[in-house]
Symmetry: C2
Subunit: 433 residues, 2 copies
Amino acid sequence: MAIKISNFFNYQNNNSKIGDFQDLEHIDGVSISATTANLYNIKRDDVVMFYFRKGASYASVYTQSKVISENIKWNQKIKTKKIRAIIINTRNANAFTGVEGFKSLKVIAEKLADGLSIKQKSDEEQPVRIKPNELLFACTGTIGEPFPQQKIIDCIPSLLKNLKYTQNKYLWIKASMGILTTDTKPKMAMDECKIGNTVIKIYGIAKGSGMIYPNMATTLGFIFTDAKLSSSILKKILKKSISNSFNAITCDGDTSTNDMVTIFATGEAKNSEIKNINDQKLNEFQKKVDNVMLNLAKSVVADGEGATKFITISVLNCKNEEDAKKIAFSIANSPLVKTAINGEDPNWGRIMMAVGKTSAKLNLKKLKITFGSVKIIENGELYSKYNEQEASDYMKNEKIDIYVDLNMGNKNFTAYTMDLSKEYIAINSDYRS
Amino acid sequence: MAIKISNFFNYQNNNSKIGDFQDLEHIDGVSISATTANLYNIKRDDVVMFYFRKGASYASVYTQSKVISENIKWNQKIKTKKIRAIIINTRNANAFTGVEGFKSLKVIAEKLADGLSIKQKSDEEQPVRIKPNELLFACTGTIGEPFPQQKIIDCIPSLLKNLKYTQNKYLWIKASMGILTTDTKPKMAMDECKIGNTVIKIYGIAKGSGMIYPNMATTLGFIFTDAKLSSSILKKILKKSISNSFNAITCDGDTSTNDMVTIFATGEAKNSEIKNINDQKLNEFQKKVDNVMLNLAKSVVADGEGATKFITISVLNCKNEEDAKKIAFSIANSPLVKTAINGEDPNWGRIMMAVGKTSAKLNLKKLKITFGSVKIIENGELYSKYNEQEASDYMKNEKIDIYVDLNMGNKNFTAYTMDLSKEYIAINSDYRS
């Protein structure tokens, strides 16, 4: 189990409260259901559905791995402009399950589309027939085991029965818990803004903590908004947000077959139409989506397997963002850096090593390194008043901020990671023993 | 302490004995000295010198890090065709020591050149004056601490006094132990071959085991031969050898500021002159240098911090070597793969993940994965007769061979690594506590 890291959020730029997660409330157009398909040996929710009665615009980003799960293949084939639901299951990644794994999704989608269509008929004024290709799937869990098609089909009646048109914080917690695997706590974040004069809600949940029984990490993130925005605008917003949030975190440098982040917009807030991504009315919305995504991404890291420290690595004033990113991830993925931080050792030599080993251009004489406000390296040399005790004291904090300033340009990148502890090895090597 | 891994050498292609290291004997033209400069708090040899009475041709490869130690800078400035000695110290890496660190080397080189010149006068028929710029330095240890110039100068008389013109296996062990840091055993390898009708010796020693108190790994390798070969030919031989030996191993994916591998040729075997790298008389020599280098590299991995398993990853039949290398190192550096192997878990899903996350081109339908002789993946699907028990039994071995066959071309690459254990974290995070 990961050790609890509290109050790691940096909410300086908004008015949200500080805590492990934020409470989410009702958002128009989103319905939630969670149930158990008995995919685990213990009793817990393992299938969660988000249903959009009137449909939702949406945009997704998927794993960049060349080995992708069957559900990601399914999602990539969906061409509809409005999505009706997303179904998330844990315990089985539906990866390396071949043709059978894909067929299972088809069968489940057909059954569920039928069930939702019947629900439309009884609940809606203008019912529509819901089609299988209006449904998305997210899967996370073991790779290479046959997909539990029948168990999931068997839980569809309960999934439909549990569907709530109105949410409260407990329902969001239930849904957030239902998508977890080795995570130790639910991950939720929210923010609000205006588009024109209309108040807009942005809610998000996520999972992912380094690895999943018994195979690997999967990061899933789902953002819900009542904004009225087209899928093509959502796509651009998501693309902008992802690089500094979910693509800025690393637990162990490994990549899943199932990673997926999707944003859904129900349109129920009925804001004035936005036709262009450059419309200034979107600026605040983009910023708040960035906030929600970053807070979710941070909570994934904070709950990383075996984490005892939350590490923020800011690489500043590079010639280009690519160099800043390379250095930030070289530090964030270095086992030597991560074990030193675990041992509360202000081992700046290891940071230097990680800076030096990338292909990024460096002028050592301009280099500056700071741990929090403790100066370590200045003009490429050990700071003349460097005080090892002061640095050691700083390393006792739960939240460690490392600043690497190249002084060669004006591009920055910030990466987030956690330390590498014995607990990580225990979780990942002793699992079956 | 690393757990002992014995008999990991693959000597199928030569006649050497199997064991943790090989015994080295006398080699003409090489003299050895080891002494203590009291660089540690415990009594041990920490300064070692290899002296070439008549000079030696040589060639080096250095770390590719952009942050390099002062001794590497010194070595890169040396332009002489014959080198007279190399001095290796442990405990202090002379990295990030600035102008002072470089100046120290100059002072030490001057004193030592004087001492060696006096020795020449008394011992040699045709004495020469030895110059400071005929000396190389190798340093390994802590980064950022002032270089112990005076302590090393103070040990020069003892270093000169201890110099032996004739070696035996005990002297080689003493020298090999004198360059170690966190390593748990000396690393020596040897082979013999012929150039024309002349028998040639190739001896080598190495150090490096993942990381060094309290900063980072440094790999040092020194090859000695009595062959008569020019520095420019040695350079080409070393370059060929290094990519499949020292550049094919990884302990934790981190790179040192001080890495250095050098080959020295005394010429005392007096073989017929070789003018061209393509001379067929060199074929056997190249092969045997490859052997010695690979065995040294393997012994570095086998002694890797916390290692309990020796892992060989062969990526076969790729379109180009670059792709093969990317995949091999993606697997070898994955904490998820390394922890699974530590837990003796045949977790092929993690291998798939590591294969999938690189930028190498893949045709999943052609992919084949084998653990030893246990078939896992065939034609991109889980092998129809895959037997988890058989795979689990295989993982209990000390030596794990993973084959990834892309079936897309004819280029291969083999990487070597060890597992990731709790011991690694203990060594690297608890060091100061």
